[in-house]
């Protein structure tokens, strides 16, 4: 396999006495679209800023395109960054915003013109070149910010929550636009978000971070299907996975998890799981089959119905425990209805009760 295009090796970061990153290791192949995702404060921005050259690296190494860049100035790392609040130069027209970096690099005028024209074409900015940022809509500002990154023709694009200031509809549009741009330019991209839907839909590789550590990285569906930790299981997917603590038992020879209140949840036998172990039982809502026939599973009482159009989200209580389930059928149920819920034992995730690691 080729050497990775970007390699992060044992990166650590502290601000004063608070440790923010505790040893980050990650390899990113060329052309990949990598999404860093995790809850607020987990260190995503800090990591991205270290890659950009905006934060000093005191421990660990960053390699970009075969070169250790720890001591390389931000402007010479071949990167371009798009900030959450766009950070456009408010006193400069769109054209001047795009030209600024090239001017700093003393690029020839004809080349500047060419690059501005290319970026303006790709991002449909031609009509806006003479406007000031204050005269643009949120989506247009977003595109100018991307244009400013584009004209640098960087080896590596960095995005820090670029869509979080946009309304829901525009966000979906821009998401597609950024992906399309990536498919066209094939430039390696690291994209930070705290939105797991963005992470799932946009990435080639998702990196889930938690409290300054990488929990898991890999293709999005791999993380979805085989979350390595309880944290990843809980974080990825919407509606979220059902997670219940309990103890492994054998009821009539079939393995199950006793989650209390007389509720036993079945799973398929697997290596490394012994009777008596403390575990977390995980089941995605779509693997909890809903049937109107009360004889065919666990009996639940519907607590909440959320019709989402092509699917229906259900919240139901089984033995006093709240479960989430999804059905693509149009269900004729209301809060208070009794329904049968059948977990699919082959789709159960088990995690170690203390470490949270996948079993």
């Amino acid at each position: 396999m080729d050497a990775p295009f970007v390699a992060l090796q044992d990166l650590r970061k502290s601000f004063g006495t608070t440790d923010v990153l505790h040893g980050i290791n990650l390899e990113i192949p060329q052309h990949a679209f990598v999404v860093l995702v995790g809850p607020s404060g987990c260190g995503k921005s800090t990591l991205l800023r270290m890659i950009a050259g905006l934060e000093k690296i005191k421990h660990g190494r960053i390699v970009i395109d075969g070169e250790i860049v720890n001591r390389v100035h931000a402007k010479n790392r071949g990167i371009a960054m798009v900030f959450q609040n766009y950070a456009l130069y408010p006193h400069m027209s769109v054209r001047e915003n795009l030209a600024f970096s090239l001017e700093m690099l003393k690029t020839e005028t004809s080349e500047v013109e060419r690059r501005i024209k290319t970026a303006a074409d790709i991002l449909q900015l031609e009509q806006l070149l003479d406007r000031l940022p204050a005269q643009l809509s949120g989506g247009q500002r977003q595109r100018v910010a991307m244009g400013r990154a584009l004209v640098r023709e960087p080896k590596l694009f960095l995005f820090d929550e670029p869509l979080s200031n946009l309304d829901a509809k525009l966000r979906v549009e821009m998401r597609a636009e950024i992906r399309a741009l990536h498919q066209r330019l094939e430039s390696t991209t690291i994209y930070v978000t705290h939105d797991q839907v963005e992470a799932m839909t946009m990435s080639d590789i998702v990196v889930v971070m938690n409290a300054g550590r990488i929990e898991q990285s890999g293709p999005p569906l791999e993380l979805y299907d085989r979350p390595a930790t309880e944290f990843v299981a809980a974080f990825m997917g919407s509606p979220a996975m059902n997670l219940l603590r309990g103890r492994v038992v054998r009821a009539d020879g079939a393995p199950a998890v006793d989650v209390g209140e007389g509720l036993f949840l079945p799973f398929d036998d697997r290596a490394g799981v012994r009777e008596g172990m403390e575990v977390v039982y995980g089941l995605r809502p779509e693997h909890l089959a809903i049937s109107p026939d009360p004889a065919s599973g666990l009996i639940g009482e519907v607590a909440l119905v959320e019709p989402a159009g092509w699917e229906t989200h259900l919240h139901a209580d089984i033995h006093g425990r709240r479960f989430r389930a999804i059905s693509t059928e149009r269900l004729d149920v209301t809060p208070g209805s009794r329904i049968a819920l059948a977990p699919d034992p082959t789709r159960v995730h088990l995690f170690d009760g203390s470490s949270g690691a996948r079993l």
Binding site: G53, A74, K75, M81, A87, L88, F100, M104
Partner: protein
Amino acid sequence: MTGPSSKKSGAGRSRTGPVRDWSGRFGRAALIGIPLAVLVVWTLTPIVWAVLASLKEPLEIYESNALLPANPTLAAYRKVLAMDGFGRWLFNSALVTVVATFVPLTISVLAAYGFARYAFRFRHVLLLLYLVPRIIPRVSLIVPLNSLMSDLGLINTYWVLFITYSASAIPLATWILVGFFASVPKEIEEAATIDGANMWNRLRRVMIPIAWPGVVTAGVLCVREAWNEFAFVLALVNESTMRTLPYQLYVLKDAMGVQDYAVYNAFTVLTILPLLLVYLLLERRVVDSIVSGSVK
């Protein structure tokens, strides 16, 4: 204050009744208008009075209580302009004002940028210490300054005015600019850093243009301070060729045997006039910056 009044004058309510609308609008206008009118009268009365007095004949002010001059005349202005040193005093004032505006502005821009952007030890203490020269009453500085400047042989030179005027303006300008620089989002500078701008370029191409209203505001205040400065020039200069306009105005009272109030007021008006011109020229920008500074 604006809460209840703006509710009353809200467009949606104006249709509910003409009486209420009228009282609402009137109330709102009164709320803003009356204090404003008082302020304008308060500020303008002395100036208007001085202008009117300067147009009177020399002894008219003793003979009549009328506010308006009986026979308006520019004679007093001619007398002032014909004074031996007037050109020199005007030049002195202008020179020290220009120097004591550009030097403090330059130093303050650099200092304020450092204070706003770099987290160094004792930053807050230093920023507070910066204010000390303005907290100490000016008169208490005069005796030590005078003996210091005599020792340095600077009494009666432009240097002594440049130094003291600038020193007193720097803290003011710095404090204003720190606020403006600090309110520029850090990401904008970081974007410029990635774009390849070094510190000098970030300051010149990004920070100063964005904080430009603040620079103008600080500049206008420097101009005002220098133009009006009186204590320093009084204490550190005694030759008549080194006087500034405010100093000469003060001297004028004693210099004229008979008190020629018209001349005195004409001198006053001519002293104020350049400052008014600067204000009028920059008024829009200063007002803009004061408003935007307070909203942010």
